[in-house]
Subunit: 187 residues, 2 copies
DNA sequence: ACCTGAACACCGTTCAAGT
DNA sequence: ACCTGAACACCGTTCAAGT
């Protein structure tokens, strides 16, 4: 009953992440995963109750490792840029990473915490609670939608995509600044 | 070799759409579809070369029927609001509709045409070619990202979601107006 | 605690052969 | 033109039994 990465459960999870990167989400099969671990397929069910639960754990791990290593600097817009950028990079770092996120049923602790951190950021910048949620939701939906589409069409990684991503994000940041932060709002 | 909806191919497609709505994307199985058509599983392959191709056709049909029946009215922002709204409603109208779109490999004729119509709309409003693409991309990524997340968490349909969707869209429309349309831009 | 062996109820796909 | 029959190579999951 250890909490850290040395349990057998964590080895199964790590193997699943590796297998995802090698063969992709469609070929990520419990039987293939078992073979890679040198084990019978049924043995996996001692560690995860279902394939769905395993995939949820993989997604959660990607969210965790996606959180920026250094806390973001600058004003709220610059921080949002950095966080949005690392969300996109985190998903792109794994094969079918964005699509995997899209299949999740439940948000997961790490995702909820990340969401709350963004809401707090906009709150401190002067947004009302409702406005902060709208702003964060919009950024996150955009990042997810962009990255899913980006990863679906393979294509070269290229800085062309980076520019397109950044340009769209600027539109949203501009809208947040102009319509959500405390200025002259009619009630 | 007819083009219209009376071919056997079209019947298979219609049955697939109905089955999707009844059982969802994960349970949409070639064998279940064959059973519903009163046919052996292998018979489907006379009409579609693979399950992937069938799902692409289902997605394309949803895109087609999603195009607004009445051509949108009003200025560019109002037209964009209407089109974004019908894209979302079109996906919500079918079980797992948004997730199905996200799994598409190739855009398809109807989607490309819809994209082009939006680009033209922004061009007429004064955007450069690049700016028009950025604006349309941002709206589409937002709509897809929002709807995927909305449909993944079941929840009541509710107008709460409608308001959240509209509020985020306004941020983007504001950004387009302020940063992409011809005004005082530095070169 | 972790795994084996063996089974169950499914998949997508192919292809000769029928009508 | 459309479908059957039958097979092939897979799936996710369960569970008694072993160590």
């Amino acid at each position: 009953m250890r909490w850290n990465g040395s349990s057998r459960r964590a080895e199964v999870l790590q193997a699943a992440v590796d297998l995802l990167d090698e063969v992709g989400l469609d070929a990520l099969t419990t039987r293939r995963l078992a073979a890679r671990l040198g084990v019978q397929p049924g043995a996996l069910y001692r560690h995860y109750p279902s394939k769905r639960a395993l995939l949820d754990a993989v997604a959660e791990r990607i969210v965790v490792e996606t959180a920026p290593d250094t806390p973001p600097e600058g004003d709220w817009a610059e921080q949002l840029r950095q966080i949005a950028g690392s969300m996109r990079r985190g998903m792109l770092a794994h094969r079918d990473g964005a699509r995997l996120m899209a299949t999740l049923t439940v948000p997961g602790d790490a995702a909820v915490a990340a969401f709350q951190r963004l809401v707090d950021l906009l709150r401190r910048a002067g947004a009302t609670p409702d406005a902060a949620v709208v702003g964060v939701d919009t950024v996150i939906c955009y990042v997810n939608g962009f990255t899913i589409e980006e990863q679906a069409r393979g294509g070269a990684p290229g800085e062309r995509r980076d520019q397109g991503f950044a340009a769209g994000l600027e539109l949203i940041l501009h809208g947040i600044a102009a319509r959500l932060l405390a200025k002259a709002n009619d009630p």
